[in-house]
């Protein structure tokens, strides 16, 4: 077992100086200088925009069947072909993105909302509080994350909300560990000690002085976390344990296409491509953010 003292990649690394304060504009400018981060950011913005505008952009209904043209190959009328019920795959990919991307975003929100405070408390108070929190984290880490998500789904049943909860809870340990590690390097620094000397209360020190200084690693983790949450969420839907058809979601569309892989490749190909492009764009952006904000963070 990992002992929970430090995130794996950081195990042998000496406490590092915290990144210097930089005005926000500087971060964005430096991010834009990295070609891959820029490409990732633009691609993601484009995907998000298209998905948001799905109702306006989609030529057909995402749910209504059209029995006269099942499994049509891609054509001018149906850019990505049609599925077994004659539904336009392009339309369903647009609508499916709304569900897949929101699962990713909400799950990361859940993970950070619970993970960051526990990491702050564990790192700041240390000793017994830290020991208790980190043993709980060790316990969650004893389950590979998809197994943990599966167990939660098995317990709560499969639905959109439960899917978000399952993927989110499975992500909590990472946020606790990264936050705690960052707090540990700050706790004995002069600005924290002086805040304590002048009589600041603990909550003020934690939220006003420490939290703003650990936002860099948390931002990087959250960005890359959206990518992996999209994958886990659509994987569970692919397995039939997440969002159920007929609601369009990239994972369950892919599962649908699996049956027709030999005869109608387009049914599986395009939803899968959508997942891959979304995840790729977020990963590129996240890598770029890490290089700018916190180069020593190994995520």
């Amino acid at each position: 077992m990992r002992d929970g003292l430090a995130p794996p990649g950081l195990a042998g690394v000496a406490p590092r100086p915290v990144a210097q304060y930089r005005p926000r504009g500087d971060t964005i400018r430096r991010l834009a200088r990295s070609r891959s981060a820029l490409a990732g950011g633009l691609l993601f913005a484009l995907i998000a925009l298209i998905v948001l505008l799905a109702p306006a952009l989609s030529p057909y209904s995402p749910i209504k069947a059209n029995q006269r043209m099942p499994l049509e190959p891609p054509s001018a009328a149906h850019l990505m072909g049609t599925d077994r019920f004659g539904r336009d795959i392009f339309t369903r990919v647009l609508w499916g993105g709304r569900l897949s991307l929101s699962v990713g975003a909400v799950a990361v929100g859940i993970a950070a909302f619970f993970g960051v405070p526990f990491g702050l408390i564990a790192g700041y108070y240390g000793r017994r509080v830290d020991a208790v929190i980190m043993r709980a984290v060790d316990l969650l880490l004893a389950f590979p994350s998809i197994l943990l998500a599966l167990a939660i789904i098995a317990t709560l049943g499969s639905s959109l909300v439960n899917l978000m909860i399952a993927v989110g809870v499975a992500g909590i340990p990472d946020y606790v560990r990264i936050t705690r590690g960052a707090v540990l390097t700050l706790r004995e620094r002069e600005f924290v000690l002086s805040a304590r000397v002048v009589g600041c209360r603990d909550d003020a020190i934690i939220f006003r002085h420490i939290l703003p200084n650990i936002l860099a690693p948390v931002t990087v983790l959250a960005t890359l976390g959206v990518a992996s949450a999209i994958i886990t969420g659509s994987a569970l839907s692919f397995l039939g344990l997440g969002i159920r058809p007929p609601a369009p979601e990239w994972g369950n569309m892919l599962a649908d296409g699996r049956e027709f892989l030999e005869a109608a490749w387009w049914v599986a190909f395009f939803p899968g491509l959508a997942i891959m492009l979304a995840v790729l764009s977020i990963n590129l952006l996240g890598d770029g953010l890490r290089d700018v904000l916190d180069p020593r963070l190994r995520l």
Partner: protein, 307 residues
């Protein structure tokens, strides 16, 4: 070293107890009456519900129930599957070899591809080879295993006919699922080995080795690689967790009778004892594998043992 191993084993005990508590509690966290899970299709009368409740011990205090659950689990009794009526432990143990074969061959493949690419990229730092290798890595990390599996089946089974698409048995049925599963891990490892190598190659002892006139290959393989691989070994434990998770998906897609597919089928058919047993044993196996990785880590890096 023995002291270190003993220390880690002792640390393990509370985690294993915790895992058993969590899997035990799963049943009690199910929304609604857990009796419904065991009632099957027959109509549930009040009497029958009470009877089932009594049989399962649900009418006793929680900690008594846990004591019994843990006691039985220690004796290897995880109950019977609701559908098959077979002991859960037999069903799960039967599925283990298939999953072990798949994940271990995927791990070997991931190490082979990842370490090779990582070294090449580091040595060719800043050239097109570096760009191509890292491009592969970022694509690999972004490729969901269910998509790469389907693409590989489409290409190598349906179009080219090189490998069978599904099933278990023989090397030819292992190649596709193992490769699909290895893809993500090999990408993660390639990035890690590359950055580790780049860091090590800057160290003074490498400069010294070069200055002494050692051949380039010997410097890279003997001096740099051994040190660059240390963080990679910790990563292996984490990657095995990822592979185990990925096996849930690859086993389902390639119809392999392993633990992952067992878990998914059990959840889909609402076979609760089987779900609990699979989750419990998979988590314990994962913890043991991580213990093994930690020991291997301590063996190659003495600083861990005494740290």
């Amino acid at each position: 070293m023995l002291g270190y191993i003993a220390h880690r084993v002792v640390q393990l005990a509370p985690v294993v107890v915790g895992i058993s508590v969590l899997t035990f509690l799963m049943l009690h966290l199910v929304p609604g009456d857990p009796v419904l899970l065991f009632a099957g299709d027959k109509p549930l009368t009040e009497e029958r519900a009470a009877q089932i409740r009594h049989q399962l011990g649900l009418d006793r205090p929680l900690w008594v129930q846990y004591e019994e659950y843990a006691g039985r689990a220690l004796r290897g009794d995880l109950g019977r599957g609701l559908r098959s009526q077979r002991p859960v432990i037999d069903t799960v143990l039967e599925a283990f070899p298939s999953t072990a074969q798949l994940t271990l061959s995927a791990l070997a493949l991931a190490v082979l591809i990842g370490v090779t690419l990582g070294i090449l990229a580091a040595l060719a730092h800043g050239t097109w080879l570096d760009t191509v290798a890292m491009g592969f890595a970022v694509l690999g990390v972004s490729m969901p295993v269910f998509y790469s599996s389907l693409l590989m089946i489409f290409l190598f089974s349906f179009r080219l006919g090189w490998f069978p698409a599904t099933g278990q048995g023989g090397l030819s049925r292992l190649v596709l699922p193992a490769t699909a599963l290895a893809l993500v891990s090999s990408a993660v490892l390639a990035r890690l080995v590359r950055s580790g190598m780049l860091e090590v190659l800057r160290q003074e002892y490498i400069v010294t080795a070069r200055a002494k006139g050692l051949a380039g290959r010997s410097v890279v393989l003997r001096h740099a690689l051994t040190n660059a691989l240390i963080p990679t070994i910790t990563m292996l434990g984490l990657q095995l967790g990822g592979l185990l998770g990925g096996a849930v998906i690859t086993e389902t897609i390639f119809s392999r009778p392993g633990i992952g597919r067992l878990a998914v089928d059990a959840i889909l058919s609402r076979d609760f004892p089987l779900v609990q047993g699979t989750v419990l044993l998979a988590a314990v196996a994962y913890v043991l594998v991580n213990l093994f990785v930690d020991i291997a880590y301590a063996a190659v890096d003495p600083r861990i043992r005494y740290g």
